[in-house]
Symmetry: C2
Subunit: 368 residues, 2 copies
């Protein structure tokens, strides 16, 4: 089991996709730590893109950190929430960049959770065909998952994240102190993605999570530091091997195919993404067991961990047929064929098709 | 001087940016030539994106060519014209792709001029974070310039091509027969980009253009074949060396900084892009002469070629101050600094700053 680092120590994880290479900095107090902001691309202007919830909490600290590096640091606070992850809101970023005469060296900073990060990243990918951007995630989910790896985008009324780009940030700065203001429900949602890394990549990390779940929910700084670092290490490794989801990267979607059906079936925003993933992982574990890959005890163990993380373990009663229908229009499906991320052994995932009847039984075993 | 190939011979030019490699096929009758459509990415669905002007002319031929390769070939005819190169029109492509349940293997085909190519390319870059696309340019301008090199995008009310991506096609198929239906004014606009390649990269090609301008305007098949092939060769070479306009690629913007001011100053759509570039090249030649790089005779020679191509050689009377103002908000400017593409020797271009007074005199020397 890895030793727990001191909470104050700054961690550095490097992502290397071949085409680009950048650091994830992890630590307490990074927003106020001048060294975290050195060596970024030079420009006359920077624009902090955030939302109206996060800006009052951390906007001033980030602007203060950036002031020595850019002649002008603007702020654009978008409306908060997944409902605004759409074109009209994204266009506010372009409106502002053009109103401020921002040129193609301008650096964008995404200060917030996954929605802000995805939208700012896509704005950076698209403004003048690409300007540099930096992720400053302030939720656990964004720190351990969405800010790393270069997936950016917006929703279309007919589907989530349907419009976007693979576009890597120049740096990811995870200030663990920002997690202290995070609502408990969102902390739990982030834990779903932390838990995910155990079954798919690191059995010892799953043991560690199991042993430290209470510390994590109590926001123990050392426990959070370790969880974020190990999650980022695993994600960096996977993304470095497969930036564009040719194969390996798909294992990061463990629980996401079932989770997608829950989110889409209830209407986005009803359950948090992490909540749907938590429950989806239980269904995916059940599928792994029913396919004879894992013992039934694994399903029970994972369900207890998910439940202790404060996440739902029973899906909404949409009916298995509706789940299957929703999974087939997921963008991970190809020609209507769904490949499920299953666990072959603790710490090892694979992609497998599965017949509808088996999938239906896995769903029904874990519906409310 | 290069020999002129037979019009019927198919030419192949390869673009290699390091990250991607694809062929430009050039020839008469390619839409109906089965071999031009082999070896493209396999998928269940293809979507032809075109416009309401081009679809009746060439849509059926392309659908016929694609039918053996895809179970379903859809067509989306967008409204014609630069005024529709915007988000709402782009979103029609996403609406259609989602309505047809197109997955991430779906191949898009851009059948039309620069607007269709730029929009389809950006749609392909962004749909599910990237699906393959093929350029099938049907205007001279698109065949010699915009379909090659991976610049895609849409306009923002505050600026042209401000939102987009560098995203390379899998193939470019230039059927020279499609040029027979092109209005004369658009043929001339395309010749502006053909002429451009002479001064910036190939003095002998400028001689050839000068000798064959009448053939080109008369749409002599052999002359068009050579003009398209040599233009694509030069563009492929430049883009291969510098995909993202770090330096060398900027020479392709010869005449475009002045041209941009003309287009923006009059309101986009008043002059065709190629018309503005034609006149802009004369101003850029004048600037090169005034900076002592080229003899005055070069300005006169280029102006005569541009005029014989059917293009305007005198800019609108916006006033030099307005030209300068408009050039400074061009996305090619950085921190308000304009770097002009100038000719240092016939066939060799460079990027240079220039003082406002000299630029103003170059503009005023060629205003109506």
């Amino acid at each position: 089991m890895p030793t727990r680092p001191a909470a104050s120590a700054r961690q550095r994880v490097t992502v290397d996709t071949g085409a680009s290479r950048y650091d994830i900095l992890i630590g307490a107090g990074l927003l106020a730590d001048a060294s975290a902001w050195q060596g970024l691309p030079a420009a006359a202007q920077a624009l902090v893109v955030t939302n109206t919830t996060v800006d009052p909490l951390h906007g001033a600290a980030l602007r203060h950190a950036l002031a020595p590096h850019y002649a002008r640091v603007g702020t654009l606070a978008l409306p908060d929430g997944e409902a605004h992850k759409d074109w009209p809101t994204l266009n506010l970023v372009f409106d502002r960049l053009l109103a401020d005469a921002c040129d193609r060296r301008t650096v964008l900073f995404a200060l917030g959770g996954g929605v802000v990060g995805d939208m700012t990243g896509f704005a950076a990918a698209s403004y003048m065909r690409g300007v540099p951007f930096v992720q400053v995630p302030t939720t656990l989910l964004a720190q351990v998952d969405s800010s790393v790896g270069g997936k950016t985008g917006i929703n279309h009324p007919a589907g989530k994240n349907m419009i976007g780009a693979f576009y890597q940030p120049r740096r990811v700065v995870c200030d663990l102190d920002t997690l202290s203001t995070l609502p408990a429900r969102e902390l739990s949602a982030g834990l779903a993605e932390v838990i995910k890394y155990g079954p798919i990549a690191d059995a010892a990390f799953l043991d560690w999570i199991e042993a430290h779940l209470d510390d994590l929910r109590a926001r123990d700084p050392a426990a959070l530091a370790h969880a974020v670092r190990r999650s980022c290490e695993i994600k960096a490794e996977v993304v470095g091997a497969d930036e564009r989801e040719g194969g390996l990267r798909a294992i990061l979607n463990f629980g996401h195919t079932f989770g997608h059906a829950i989110e889409a079936g209830l209407g986005y925003g009803e359950w948090l993404h992490g909540e749907a993933v938590g429950c989806g992982m239980v269904m995916a574990a059940e599928l792994s067991a029913r396919l004879g890959l894992m013992p039934a005890a694994f399903v029970g163990r994972l369900a207890r961990i998910v439940e202790r993380a404060g996440l739902p373990v029973r899906g909404p009663r949409l009916g298995a047929a509706r789940y299957l229908e929703l999974m087939r229009v997921d963008k991970k499906a190809e020609s209507g064929q769904i490949r499920f991320v299953v666990i072959e052994a603790l710490g090892r995932a694979a992609l497998r098709p599965a017949d509808d009847a088996t999938v239906a039984r896995a769903i029904e075993a874990h519906c409310a």
